[in-house]
Structures are given as structure tokens and as C-alpha cells.
Amino acid sequence: MFPIQLSNIRFTPDGRPVLAGVDLDIDADGITVIIGPNGAGKTVLLRIMAGLQAPHDGNIHWNGNGCPEPGIAMVFQHPILLRSSVFHNAGLGLKPFGLSRAEAKRRTMQTLERVGLAHRATDSARLLSGGERQRLALARAWAMRPQLLLLDEPTAALDPSATDVVEGIVREIRTDGTRIIMTTHNLGQAMRISDDIVFLSSGRVIERAPTSRFFARPQSNEAKLFIQGELPWRISFDN
């Protein structure tokens, strides 16, 4: 799986440069947080890394292979939950693995316990709160025991308490040995949870640095303004 190497990745639907030449190397450890203004290309970049979206130009290699490996899981900002129980949804990602029914059940229940949803296993998934839905989506991905977990703004619609719970789960998944790459607009969260930061703007990687250094001494003017809460992305809109 690792390293994942992206070179000169371009994604230009209808000629609009969503990604305008991204170069990035992802190694096997830690939590990387991708930050940047809306429209910077964060979600598309995650999808390309997951192998769900093909770039219009450039190359991506997963440990030297041009095809994504099966050990990748992704949790979306608004996860889709089927009209069935929490348990059924949590085990959904195990279907293609061909596990025995007993093993799939054991692994699903174990994961539900770890995200604190075991007591709701028989409840309907669609009646969960926002925070619980996101925890269920994380459980579904975690049960797959992925090598790489991609999280697309997993706490975007959550209150601070639910965000805290989700962050705790993300840390636990990382402790389990899963490499995590996530996007967020929450700078505090990026500071709390990440080992390194990728700052994306106008479809380009403007800066990549260890978290403490990025926030203490951002190297680019755009990153500096972004951290200060200014609106650097207006520059790219105007251009």
C-alpha cells in the first residue's frame, strides 16, 4: 500500500482546475490532515487517493502499483446508511471479504463496542443522531481493518461533544495501526489530532509540514492568512 505517491495530479472537469498539479508522498504512519478553503480540491484529492476517482492527468501509485489496493476505506462527510439496523450497517463493509457469518458478527460487534454503539445494535441506523451516524460510519470502515482510512470532514456537522468522541475514535483507529488522512475546516481539530498538515489551495499543495511547525511558522503567505482566519482564497476567486 505505502508509500502512496501522487505526481502532478490534475483534475479539471469542464476545463475547471479543481486540482492543478498535486505532488504528494504518503508514508505508512500517522494522521495527516488536509486543510484549505472550500473548493481547494480536498475531497477530490481524497477520492483520487481512494481510487474512486481517476485524475485527468498525472500519476498515482500505491506502493508502486497503478491500481488501488483493497486495504483502503473511506468515510464520507454524509455517510450513507441503509434502511436497516445499526449492526447490519456496521457489517456492510465486510460483505466482499467472504468472512464466515460468525467471524463477521464477532468483528462487527467488537467494532460497535469500540465506538460505543453496541447497545444500539438492533436499532434502526437512520434514526441515529448525527454524531452516532458518524461513529457508525467509522465503525463500518474500522471493521474492514483498513491500512489506510480516508475521512472527508467527518465532524463537519457535529457539536463539540460529538466531535470530541469522533476524534477519540480516530486516534484509536490510528493506534490500531491504520494510516489516516482526513480533511477538515476545523483548525483546532487539525492541531489536536494530526501529525502533519497538508495545506491545499486552488488545487495545489501550498505547504506541507509537521503540525506544530505549520501552525507556529507557516512558510507561505496564504497559509499564514488562512490560519489567521483571513480570506486568502478570495485571491484565487478573483484571478
Binding site: 477520492r47 441503509l82 434502511r83 436497516s84 460483505k95 434502526s124 437512520r126
Partner: protein, 231 residues
Amino acid sequence: MLNTLLEAISLVSRLDNQVVAIVWLSFKVALATVTLATLIGLPLGAFVAVASFPGRGAVTVFLNAMMGLPSVVVGVIVYLFLSRSGPFGGMGLLYSPVAMVMAQTVLVVPLIAALTRQIVEDAWRAYSLEFRSMHFSLGNSIVALLYDCRYSLVVAVLAGAGRSLSEVGAVMIVGGNIEGYTRVMTTAIALETAKGDLPLSLALGMVLLTVVLLINTGAYHVRQWAMRKYG
């Protein structure tokens, strides 16, 4: 008019043998038809909704067009296949309930498949990325989508049941409307009305209407329950 109505009510309320036999056969034919058509139509519609293959658009247009397939045309085609000189003539199925089920299945499959395709395709637009991220195969995706859309798909199956119960042209041609053997509600209504036996026609019409209303009421409550339970 009033006498006819009263006589019709009397036929139904005292469970007239002729009425019961006709209604029972109608149910058996409709049930067999809907079961077969559902087993074929649901996966077929879901496959067309999810799979990418050359000519998918043409298949979609064809399925939609077949929803309005004239039943007498299907009746004639099935008749040709089952008649003594046809490829399946040796099986001796013409003018039998089996022939009626075959003709109606041909009519109902496109209806269920086309409605399924529409329902599943709408869901697939929302779910496809998520399923792909879980490395679902085409089969995994079809099963999960059919499961998730099951309460909406009840409507497709009911539409098929409605068409089967109310269809007259095809079953008349391949069934022959033989009393006590292939006479169903619709063919009996057509015949008895032509003969002037309006009470029997009206009695069968009342049963048909009641059945359709009951099925739809049941489906409505199932959907309501599902909405409350699963959101």
C-alpha cells in the same frame, strides 16, 4: 339497476360457487405471475440501473416502452409459441392456467423491471461512491440496493399485481376462457357482460375492486410502518 346490484351483493355474500372458483383461479394465476415476474424483474431492473454496458440506454428505453405493451399482442405471440405448430406446441400448454401465467409474466416483467430500474438508479446515484469505497462487486451492490429500496419496490410489485389482476386480452387468447378451468375474473366479466348476466359481472367486479383496494391499503401501511421504523 338496483336489482342487479342486490343480486351481485347476494352472489358475493353467499360465496357463490362459480364466483369463488373464478376468484380463486384469478388469485392463483396472479400470484404465480407476480412471483415469477418479481424474481425476474427486480434483479433485471437493478442490473440495468447499476451496470455499465454498451446499449444500456437502449435497454432502458426498451424496458420503458414495454410497460405499455398491448396485452393482446403478447397473447398472440405466446399463442404462436404454444400452439400445436409452435416451438412449444408439444407441451400441450395452450388453453391452460400455465399458459395464462406465461403470457402475464411476459406482460408484467417489463413493468416491474422498468419501475425497479428507476427506483434503484435514483438510490445508486447517492450510494455508488460509498459502495465502491467498500469494494462492493456488482452483485453486492445490487443486493444491497434491492434490500435498501425494498419498501419502495413494493409499489413496483403492486403495479405488477394490478396489471396481472386486471389484464384480459392475453389470458383470453392463451387461456380460452374455459369455464371451471381457465376462466378468471376479467375474462368472466367480459363474457358475462356480453351475455347479459350483469349480476355475475358486477359481483366479480366488486371482488376485483375490493382486492385491489385491500392490497394497496396493506402496502400503504407497510410503507408507513417502515418509515417509522427505518426512517
